[in-house]
């Protein structure tokens, strides 16, 4: 039904941001997410971590938006990671197979520590 999006800059080098999603990433939520995150990624030059610990629901459109973030960042030579995914969300992501593409972590600390792919 609705989504809350919070973006935080991390004190890391190279540049890294965290986008925390709260609520539902569906048709409407995804559109809202895209409206905010895409221009940011297009203009910026940072690696992105998506904190999904407060995400209650995701459907295929939501997955589309995660995939899109990943593709754009990959093209820019940047990384995209998912963190804190709830069990029911994780199941959906695994069935679709996106967890094989986008790295997932239990905690933010782990995600930051893994420097693979970070230039």
């Amino acid at each position: 039904m609705s989504i809350d999006i919070q973006i935080k800059e991390l004190d890391e080098q190279p540049a890294m941001k965290v986008v925390a999603l709260k609520g539902e990433l569906d048709i409407l939520g995804g559109k809202e997410f895209g409206k905010i995150i895409l221009p940011l990624i297009a203009e910026g030059n940072f690696n992105l971590i998506s904190d999904l610990s407060q995400l209650e629901y995701i459907n295929s459109t939501g997955i589309y938006w995660l995939m899109r973030c990943f593709s754009i960042l990959r093209e820019k030579g940047k990384t995209f990671k998912l963190v804190g995914i709830k069990e029911q969300i994780k199941e959906v992501l695994e069935v679709v197979g996106i967890t094989k593409i986008i790295p997932t972590y239990t905690t933010l600390k782990e995600a930051i520590a893994d420097r693979k792919g970070i230039k």
């Binding site: 048709i27 995939m67 593409i101």
Partner: protein, 507 residues
């Protein structure tokens, strides 16, 4: 093994949920625009199968028939360039009634085109056995091939999606048709209400701009001598208006369209524009735009018009919009003809002044206004002195020339669009002067009298002197109603005649 089955099951459930989710959303709001519906469809599919690029092409009468995932303009261009190859596959898809893998195509050249564009699968979208669209599915982010079950799902999903798309399309058409009916009614009512030609033309222009999504437009109508009878415009600044008017004589938009010699729709792009015209091929935000329009031949009245509308480049007209354009511009012709007919009915052929009947109608209206707003109104009754004698001596041809000249002087002397001059009959003239008292009427009458007095006519070297007599009456000073007003003025005119003519009398 059971893990595999478990996964398959979960996937199936997810697919079903997706269909129900999306279709529920799409069918809930009838007035969702087609772009949103298609985006939803493409995004759901993409999310479910991790499709990196995809597109949808439609075979429907719409202004936009190619949609791509992510609104990627470069990919959209690529797909549009491939329309020819895609339509070649059309029949095969129709026969097969199922999906085609690009790799399995026989023609190598088409196969390589698809491969280069990243398209792996062609999914036909059927509606009532007709092929209404093709869903072009590209490669997946995990590079995996599409399994049979996945292809089957995409086929089912796409054939659900096309129903929503067509519903939205029909709803849009319905709304458009309703709008057209409303506009046609409004214009007809306005014509019947006797609104002036310029207002009517402006109404139709407004309707055209709104319905066809144009940001600027003009209609220019030329009379027999190339003189501009009407120039209605919207969304054009002074410089652009000048560019358009000048293009009658240069190799510009008006000249080019008239030279086409037909009333079919023409389209002009910026490439064909001369340097002097470049400004009209851009909208106010400097986006490139193009012009489309048609000529209007009103042969019966020796008039010709050009209607032009400007849209942003890339925004083409659908067949329905072209048809609407033709209907509405035909209205222009009707309006102008109607105005012309009315003009002919109320003007005297020789002098161009109004006829007696119109004068009476207007006097009634002006008296009513004068009473309501408590102001004066004056009437001047005039006739040419010794006119019968002039006719007898010099002939009717000279007589007509005199009448015409007197009429012209009256026309030039009055306040345009305020005073109402008429040829009362034969050699008699009358003028209604709204919001004018006796003093004001006298000034005008005297001016006319003097200008006629100094006229010089000659026949066979013999000079012809022309003069007029005039009587003035005013409301409420001299008369209580229309008849009284005319009678009073007429009486005074008679007295001028008795006094030798070439004078103006008032009470």
């Amino acid at each position: 093994m059971s893990n595999d089955v478990d996964n398959q099951l979960k996937k199936k459930i997810l697919e079903l949920l997706t269909i129900s989710d999306v279709i529920k959303k799409l069918n809930l709001s009838l007035d969702l625009d087609i772009g949103t519906i298609i985006d939803t469809f493409l995004q759901s599919s993409a999310g479910l199968f991790l499709i990196e690029k995809s597109a949808l092409i439609l075979f429907m009468d719409m202004s936009k028939t190619t949609y791509v995932q992510d609104n990627d303009k470069n990919f959209e261009k690529e797909i549009n360039e491939m329309r020819g190859q895609i339509e070649e596959i059309y029949l095969r898809l129709k026969e097969k009634q199922g999906c085609l893998l690009a790799n399995n195509l026989e023609e190598n050249w088409i196969k390589s085109k698809f491969r280069a564009a990243g398209i792996e699968l062609l999914v036909p979208m059927f509606l009532r056995k007709e092929l209404k669209g093709i869903y072009l599915v590209g490669n997946r982010i995990n590079k995996e091939a599409y399994q049979k079950e996945e292809i089957d799902f995409l086929f089912a999903f796409a054939n659900q999606g096309i129903v929503s798309i067509e519903n939205a399309h029909f709803f849009q058409l319905l709304q458009q048709h309703m709008k057209e009916l409303v506009v046609a009614n409004e214009i007809t009512a306005a014509i019947n209400a006797g609104l002036d030609t310029e207002t009517l033309l402006d109404m139709v222009m407004g309707a055209l701009l709104e319905m066809l999504g144009a940001h600027a437009g003009f209609i220019v109508i030329f009379g027999g001598n190339k003189e501009v009878l009407f120039f209605i415009h919207r969304g054009l600044d002074e410089q652009k208006r000048n560019t358009i008017l000048k293009s009658r004589d240069t190799a510009g938009i008006i000249n080019k369209s008239l030279n086409l010699g037909s009333d079919d729709v023409f389209t002009f792009y910026t490439e064909s524009a001369s340097f002097a015209e470049k400004d009209i091929f851009m909208d106010d935000s400097k986006n490139p735009s193009y012009w489309f329009g048609r000529c209007l031949f009103i042969r019966k009245e020796n008039m010709v018009g050009v209607v032009g509308l400007s849209k942003k480049e890339g925004e083409m007209l659908s067949d329905k919009e072209v048809s609407l354009f033709l209907t509405l511009t035909n209205q222009f012709v009707m309006i102008v003809l109607n105005a012309r007919l009315y003009e002919l009915a109320i003007t005297d052929g020789l002098t161009g002044l109004f006829v007696h009947r119109y004068f009476e109608q207007r006097l009634k209206e002006e008296m009513s206004r004068a009473r309501r707003y408590s102001y004066s109104i004056s009437v001047i009754m005039m006739d040419v002195d010794q006119f019968k004698r002039c006719n007898d001596i010099f002939g009717h041809e000279i007589g007509n020339m005199v009448i015409k000249k007197v009429g012209s002087i009256i026309n030039l002397s009055i306040r345009k669009n305020e005073d109402i001059p008429c040829r009362w009959g034969g050699d008699e003239f009358a003028i209604i002067l709204p919001e004018t008292d006796k003093k004001g009427a006298l000034i005008l009458a005297e001016r006319i009298r003097k200008n006629i007095e100094i006229l010089k006519f000659y026949k066979d070297g013999k000079p012809i002197n022309v003069s007029i007599s005039a009587g003035i009456a005013s409301f409420p000073a001299d008369a209580v109603d229309e008849k009284d007003l005319i009678d009073q003025a007429d009486n005074l005119l008679y007295q001028v005649k008795k006094a030798g003519g070439n004078k103006v009398f008032l009470k």
